[in-house]
Point group: C2
DNA sequence: GAGTCAAATAGTTTCGAAAGTTTTATAAAA
DNA sequence: TTTTATAAAACTTTCGAAACTATTTGACTC
């Protein structure tokens, strides 16, 4: 019924991001080859690439493991996000064209729509993957006019680490009801208004709330979904 | 006479950093296997890892290439260095212990020694690799008390990109006689004095001078050396 | 001479077996 | 029972050949 069109590398990468394998878990090409429908060699190649990207660690003659995240790693990722996002957002607000404004408006609209659904249906779990994807799209669009490919790459890396931990440790990947929606709204409005100081402050509030784990205490009811 | 004890991965990585292969050059495992004394398979594995790290790019069925750096990439790397180094230096200055002070003092001493040699002998080329290594050690020691492994990793990545371009495009990897030495001296003194504002300003001067390529116009005489 | 096609060549990726390493299991000795 | 030594099993890495893909060459046509 459902053909898996994704290559082993992508399947592995997504599995790592979305918690298919636990932090620090062994990744054996031999055992995973049935599940991912390929030979152990191509899995090995994919894992080597992912090792370079930091999703996987490898020790000589001991194979591969999903990278182990601690709460400390999470704090560092949040901090790095903050530093990079503030810099990139400031540049974007200063340099962004009208096209950027439109893109940001669209990204925010999509994100707000998901968040509205999550709150109204009182069923966050059903939408968390959509939400997490739109969360990324919003933040990266916000930064997209900063003019530095390298800065964006560094941010993506920090964001991925951040999200891996959130997916593994927080019931709803960190979505915390109305709070997040308002925070994103604030960031969006101040960015469009070209209010650098206000926007940076909003970003700081947003990421800091996460970091302190405030959201873990408000799990919402609902059953899991694998729509994505 | 000289046994190469480094594995193919390290050899490739160093070759990429130190300009053994030009920006954008094809890296064919088949052809490189003689030079690096291994089979094409282990070279492929090394390249896959380096692809993940961003030193190498690969396109399906087209093999590998050394990553292509433009002047724009260089500017972005310099900018990212600045952003990350300011943040980390500030944290280090605020949190650094006496051990950190000692380590920084030692790192600066070594760097200053190399720079003194370069200036006195009027033969920069002979010491550029030493200098580049000590330059890294000084900057990373300065940041080492920031308390964030992730931030240091992101910085290293930006530094490597920065250096690859400098090695390829500048006669002396960017060393510019007395200017650099004085800059490092400034950064060092202000860090030890726990003068955050002064140190950050010194860092900004240092990296900005590089970025504008001011150093390219003062090549020093002397012949090449492969001591390292 | 320019353009098209097919064959030949060169290069890349995948594969599964061989070689090498670590871990587990088993048996002998203290 | 604990320790040490040895053998077996499980796994990781390396290897070279096979399969596959891209590029070049050269013959043929317009």
């Amino acid at each position: 019924m459902h053909y898996d069109t994704t290559d082993p590398y992508t399947a592995l990468r997504n599995g790592l991001i979305w918690g298919r394998w636990k932090s620090g878990e062994r990744l054996s090409p031999q055992h995973l080859k049935e599940e991912l429908e390929c030979t152990s060699s191509v899995l090995r190649e994919a894992m080597l690439r992912l090792a370079g990207e930091g999703f996987v660690v490898s020790e000589k003659n001991h194979g591969f493991r999903a990278v182990a995240h601690s709460q400390e790693t999470f704090r560092e990722a949040a901090h790095l996000r903050l530093v990079l996002e503030r810099e990139a957002a400031e540049l974007s607000i200063k340099n962004g064209t009208f096209d950027w404004e439109m893109a940001l408006s669209a990204a925010h609209q999509k994100l707000a729509y998901v968040e509205k659904q999550m709150i109204e249906t009182q069923d966050a779990t059903r939408y968390v993957k959509h939400w997490s994807l739109q969360d990324w799209e919003f933040h990266s669009t916000l930064m997209s006019a900063c003019g530095s490919e390298l800065l964006m790459r560094a941010y993506k890396s920090a964001f991925d680490t951040f999200r891996m931990y959130a997916v593994a440790e927080f019931p709803n990947y960190g979505f915390g009801q109305a709070v997040t929606a308002q925070e994103h709204q604030d960031i969006y409005e101040r960015a469009i208004a070209r209010d650098v100081k206000g926007c940076l402050a909003a970003i700081e509030r947003h990421v800091t709330l996460y970091k302190n784990g405030n959201r873990t205490k408000v799990p919402l009811p609902g059953k899991s979904s694998d729509t994505l």
